[in-house]
Symmetry: C2
Subunit: 201 residues, 2 copies
């Protein structure tokens, strides 16, 4: 099996959510898996000296409209932005970091369940209780999930992941690496498709 | 005839260059024309508090790679970024503002000729002499072109255009309006296509 695509995302990123629904099919088409890499855009924004998209003058107003339109374009006609938005995403990110080693297949299911809880059901997944309830629906023990979210080892592992993401040049969400080649944004999925088909262009 | 698409661009924008080669075919497919709107990203960046793409930490390195890869993806295998980059684009913008009223069809030809001079031939179109030489190839009188570039009326007209662009929410290049709906970037051309086909979605 060829190496998986590295899929970096923040749980507060609507484009990350849309991309999370398409990355596995794109990877599978080319005989690849997906490695799910939750990260924290807040830490990245400190590095790049920028701010959440929706808070930047001019760009903010456009992006609210573009997010909803892009959701409709990708088959989600009912989309509205959750409130609060954006949110802190340490809790869901830690859960995924934990499950990635415990049970990789369930980690993939969890990513989509947590994203859906936030963007489709408007549940505030910055809160550990909400994250644990979403995990319970996927048959994850609540006490074990809480322990993972509060574990220093998991916190450290996430911190290392975020540092590694920044070192690799990740500055937004979604951000995909294909054999070391970086692609930012759902709107680069066509280029990823051709890259995988041709071995680079 | 339905209203034209408003195509806002900066002559120093590589994505604007790629988009300028596709916008007319996209518009014509839906029975539309193109209104060419040169603007100055420098003035916009002051408003949004941001910087040229290639100068932002992390994003800068990525964007240099993405620009070249996107050029290859869109059929320009030989692309390399000009040096100097970015450049001031008042001179070519003024020439287009002038020709847009004098001779709209030639304005469209000029946009592509000036873009090609900079990005394919690596001529520094920030310089009036270069702009005038490019215009001469398109049968524009050199003295008239120089007078236009130095004319206070044309300078004022461009300034008004840029102010209007910012008032409309333009913050990047290319930036397209379809009957008031805003689309940023070449990677939104698929959405523009569907928007024009369906009357909005």
């Amino acid at each position: 099996m060829k190496p998986p695509l590295l899929f970096y995302f923040d749980f507060s990123s609507p484009y990350g959510w849309l991309a999370a629904q398409q990355i596995e099919a794109l990877a599978a088409k080319h005989d690849r898996g997906v490695s799910w890499k939750p990260m924290l855009l807040g830490a990245v924004f400190k590095q790049t000296g920028t701010a959440p998209l929706t808070m930047i003058p001019l760009k903010g107003d456009y992006s609210r409209r573009d997010i909803a339109r892009s959701a409709r374009f990708h088959g989600l006609p009912e989309f509205t932005l959750p409130d609060p938005f954006p949110i802190a995403t340490q809790a869901p990110a830690r859960l995924v970091v934990w499950q990635r080693t415990e049970n990789p297949e369930r980690a993939a299911v969890l990513v989509k369940a947590l994203y859906r809880a936030y963007f489709a059901e408007h549940q505030d997944i910055s809160k550990a209780d909400i994250v644990i309830a979403v995990a319970a629906r996927e048959s994850i023990d609540a006490d074990a999930a809480r322990a993972a979210i509060e574990s220093s080892a998991i916190k450290d592992a996430l911190r290392r992941d975020v540092d590694e993401a920044i070192a690799r040049g990740v500055f937004g969400s979604p951000f995909v690496f294909v054999d070391g080649e970086a692609f930012w944004g759902l709107d680069r999925f066509e280029q990823i498709d051709r890259w995988l088909a041709t071995g680079g262009f």
